[in-house]
Amino acid sequence: MAKLLKKTLGLLVLMMAVFTLTSCGQSSQTNVYQNSKEAKKIVWGVKSDTKLFGLVNIKNGKTEGFDIDIAKAITKKMFGKDAKAEFVATTAKTKVPLLKNNSIDAVAATMTITPERKKILDFTKPYFGAGQSILVKKGSSIKGINDLNKKGTQVMAVKGTTAVDNIHKYAPKAKVLELDDYAQAFSALKSGQGIAMTTDNGILFGIAKENPNYQVVGGAFTNEPYGLAVDKGQTEMRDHMNKALDEIKADGTYTKLVKKWFGSIPGFDLKEAEE
């Protein structure tokens, strides 16, 4: 048995050494703006499971949503009419790693600008005024965030979103069940794994629109505008994206897109959304 233990320990130490060595390797940074300009193409990390923002249309396989349209408009403003916007499906969990390893150039995926994220990414100005809200089954006794602050309350959220931290802050007694994406979180809500689902209001309104038995309650209890993100240090890319964002706001494209996606959502305040 002693020999066994020694062998195991030895192997573990070896593994650790190898892992530590591999984790030291860091790729050198490239200039994303110059590369994109040459290729006339921006690869965007977007959502593929989020109604209204980025959802794959099952009929034609294309991703559609507000984020997608904004990304397309910005790509064209930056590199001309024939520039291409390519889309890669990401989740809250994968978008930062994908940016870091250069698989995508920029992110337009319902990403809230937070101080922690600012440490590792560069954000543009806000392009959508989101705030966190709660989705419950119609007739539920939950009327707002304060009703969730009870022991034994289980709330669904998506891994890697700011919603997880916010629930810890605003309803510390509630237990958060973190799931992989919005579809799964909503399935879990339908199966009664918890009594509410929480994330940004825009996303919840999108779910409620498709599922009339569920409603958004209590209004937004946080103010968390979305920004477009690039890897830390890609300031040239970020500055040009900001300029393009200003331009589409000035020429009315932006307002048109907000109306297109959110104009027909009952209970949604367009003024809240526009930044």
């Binding site: 066994l4 573990l12 892992f19 984790s23 794994q193």
Partner: protein
């Protein structure tokens, strides 16, 4: 890598505990259920052996994630709610039991028929012969593949991460997405899995040498 572990050791510890607990539960029940179905499959009765065959083929050929999701999302809509941890453990048990059944059945069938005939002609009942003569020999034979199944089971327990089962992988996911220190977090998770699986692998090897 060490700092990630030091700063968040409570999180990792609770995940580690849940992974071990789930693995032990699933290991025990899948061994019992699997062996049961293995014996059932060797029965003369066509109906019973057919039933065992159907069970094994069903759970062996559906992805583990689908079985687990079924218990987490679909099952509660018709019956009652079961937690992510329970759904994951049930999924893991059913899935692994089908593989264990196949392994144990192969073991039983590789024991010469003369063993059973000899035991029966010496006055043992079918069950006595199975319990005292056939199964002990069969299990010695299948220890190596069984060890594989056990290691697979522990690794597969990461399926709990998808149904909020608060296991090691779930805590790692959650931590990685909060701290953005993806590489180091998953390295710690990997090493913690090794701490469970390596001793088990060695123990099965040890057992194999001892019994052969």
């Amino acid at each position: 890598m060490i700092h990630v572990l030091v700063n968040n050791w409570q999180v990792f510890l609770s995940g580690f505990f849940n992974t071990v607990l789930c693995s032990i539960l699933a290991l025990f029940f899948s061994l019992v259920i699997g062996s049961g179905f293995a014996i059932m499959e060797t029965f003369q009765n066509k109906f019973l052996s057919g039933f065992a065959r159907a069970y094994i083929e069903l759970f062996r050929n559906i992805p583990l994630l689908v079985i687990t999701m079924f218990f987490y999302v679909v099952f509660p809509q018709y019956f009652f709610t079961i937690s992510g941890f329970a759904a994951g453990t049930i999924g893991l048990t059913l899935y692994t039991s089908s593989f264990i059944a196949e392994t144990v059945r192969a073991g039983i069938q590789s024991i010469d028929i003369g063993q059973m005939e000899g035991a029966r002609s010496n006055g043992l009942t079918y069950w006595q012969a199975m319990k005292n003569i056939i199964l002990p020999q069969a299990f010695v034979l299948v220890i190596p593949p069984l060890g594989n199944q056990f290691v697979n089971l522990i690794k597969n327990s990461s399926v709990l991460a998808f149904v909020a089962g608060f296991d090691l992988m779930y805590q790692g996911d959650s931590l990685a997405s909060q701290t953005f220190d993806t590489i180091n977090t998953y390295l710690v998770v990997g090493v913690l899995y090794l701490i469970i699986t390596l001793p088990l692998s060695y123990y099965m090897k040890h057992l194999e040498n001892k019994l052969s």
